[in-house]
């Protein structure tokens, strides 16, 4: 069973030796103490903190969306909204690239879906080898608060699946808060954008999935009326 409450730094979350301290927590004798502000969640005796605010903190394996900031002789520097410099190496691109024509593959200002490969002292290394990764050619990009990304995705992807089905769009959610929407019609894309903004505005409600279901029913009716 999961139990959630808001904790502040220094607050004791649980007492007892049978709990394990997870992310954002620390063991202090008998107690598990919070080291940051957020929602404390306890499941299977593991206590961790889910962030509620603050900037995006990169993790290995995260899928992110970034913008080309600079082109070097062996790769691209992308902006994914973190303090660390983020580099996409030539060797992590699954096609032949002419060393003199890096800008032909991705030019300044181009956006790409990439995965965080490693995080080290020098910065973050990305890769675009993999399904669904690569340069973004068309569609629209929506920016939301990175802390609300889990609500957009929903439990086991339920929320994002519903938005995809209702709007007939292909949606890629970057963990850094950028969302790529690609549909057949611009109207569909804008509809998906409205849905995403609705979810991010109402993210604090419990029973959000039902609320969004209702919103879709209302909106699709309105659309039909406008059409006729």
């Amino acid at each position: 069973m999961t139990d959630r409450k808001i904790v502040i730094p220094g607050e004791v979350i649980v007492k007892g030796n049978d709990f394990l301290p997870g992310e954002g927590t620390e063991r202090n004798g008998e107690e598990i103490v919070a080291l940051r502000y957020g929602l404390a969640e306890e499941s299977n005796k593991l206590v961790k903190i889910i962030p509620l605010s603050g900037p995006y903190l990169p993790r290995r394996g995260n899928v992110v969306i970034g913008k080309v900031e600079n082109i070097t002789f062996n790769g691209w520097v992308l902006d994914i909204g973190t303090a660390e410099t983020t580099f996409l190496s030539l060797t992590e691109v699954p096609r032949y690239v002419n060393k003199d024509g890096l800008d032909e593959v991705m030019d300044f200002g181009d956006m790409a879906v990439a995965k965080i490969w490693t995080i080290n002292k020098r910065g973050i290394d990305l890769t675009i080898k993999g399904r669904g990764l690569g340069k973004i050619d068309e569609g629209i990009i929506v920016k939301i608060n990175p802390n609300k990304v889990p609500r957009i995705i929903g439990k086991e992807g339920s929320m994002i699946k519903m938005i995809k089905d209702e709007t007939n769009c292909n949606i890629t959610v970057g963990q850094n808060g950028l969302i790529w929407i690609k549909g057949d019609k611009v109207e569909d894309e804008l509809f998906a954008k409205r849905a995403i903004n609705f979810v991010s505005d109402k993210s604090f409600i419990s029973g959000l999935t039902e609320e969004v279901q209702k919103w879709f029913e209302k909106e699709s009716k309105g659309e039909k009326n406008n059409g006729s």
């Binding site: 502040i8 220094g10 080291l35 940051r36 502000y37 957020g38 605010s53 603050g54 900037p55 660390e84």
Partner: protein, 236 residues
């Protein structure tokens, strides 16, 4: 004791702090974390940005993150307009804030990065550095910066021969009866450890101990207000 006969101008008891005390979190949507602290007529707002890249590069610390505070009093915060921009006093208080907050921050892993804290005093009636530290601590927590605990700041002092809590503008700068006034701003962690103390004026060793005890107890109440504000930030 002299405390019984001594009367403060605003009618407070010696161990009473200014009312209202209020705190609010998340007041600046653009910032990564933000907070407001009000203590009587003094109001401070704090915004936290970061961790982010530090420029210029030569100031970077490859071993740990850096906290950079910026204290500023707005020109309309006092009755006589103050000249806007950095001054000797604001530079000093910025540094004091860094020293008061650094002991609780766990920013070692933000190597070569900086966390910016901007505090603006929108209304000043003495005790602005305490209000600034209180707001900054809440804003840092709200920004999700790892920290051991919050810090709570409060001033104690001495008016003539009486130890009092939380001096206001009149008591701090105009009170001249008998021995005059002494202002001692302090910052405490929730378990009662000091992270910052300053003394402006004269005080005996015994009375200093009394003042610290008085402030320590008051800091607990401040901490509860900060805690409540952070917990209620996401309820709408």
């Amino acid at each position: 004791m002299a405390a019984k006969t001594f009367k403060r101008k605003d009618g407070r008891k010696p161990e009473e702090f200014r009312k209202p005390i209020s705190a609010k979190v998340g007041i600046i949507p653009n910032a990564d974390g933000s907070a407001m602290w009000q203590s009587g007529k003094t109001i401070a707002i704090a915004a936290v940005y970061g961790p982010k890249e530090l420029h210029p590069r030569n100031q970077r610390d490859p071993a740990a993150g850096i906290l950079r505070c910026n204290y500023n009093m707005l020109s309309f915060s006092v009755t006589d307009r103050i000249r806007p921009g950095p001054s000797r006093r604001s530079t000093e208080i910025s540094k004091i804030m860094e020293w008061a907050l650094e002991p609780v921050l766990l920013i070692d892993k933000f190597q070569s990065m900086v966390i910016d804290v901007h505090v603006n005093i929108i209304q000043a009636d003495a005790g602005t550095r305490c209000a600034a530290i209180n707001a900054a601590a809440m804003a840092l927590a709200h920004a999700g910066i790892p920290m051991k605990s919050l810090v709570s700041s409060i001033a104690a002092g001495k008016l003539d021969k009486t130890v009092v809590l939380d001096l206001d503008k009149y008591e701090d700068s105009e009170f001249e009866e008998g021995e005059g006034s002494t202002d001692i701003p302090m910052t405490f962690t929730p378990d009662g450890k000091l992270t910052h103390i300053q003394i402006d004026g004269k005080i005996s060793k015994e009375q200093l101990k009394q003042a610290i005890e008085l402030a320590k107890n008051a800091a607990k109440e401040i901490y509860e207000v900060q805690k409540k504000a952070l917990k209620e930030a996401n309820k709408k």
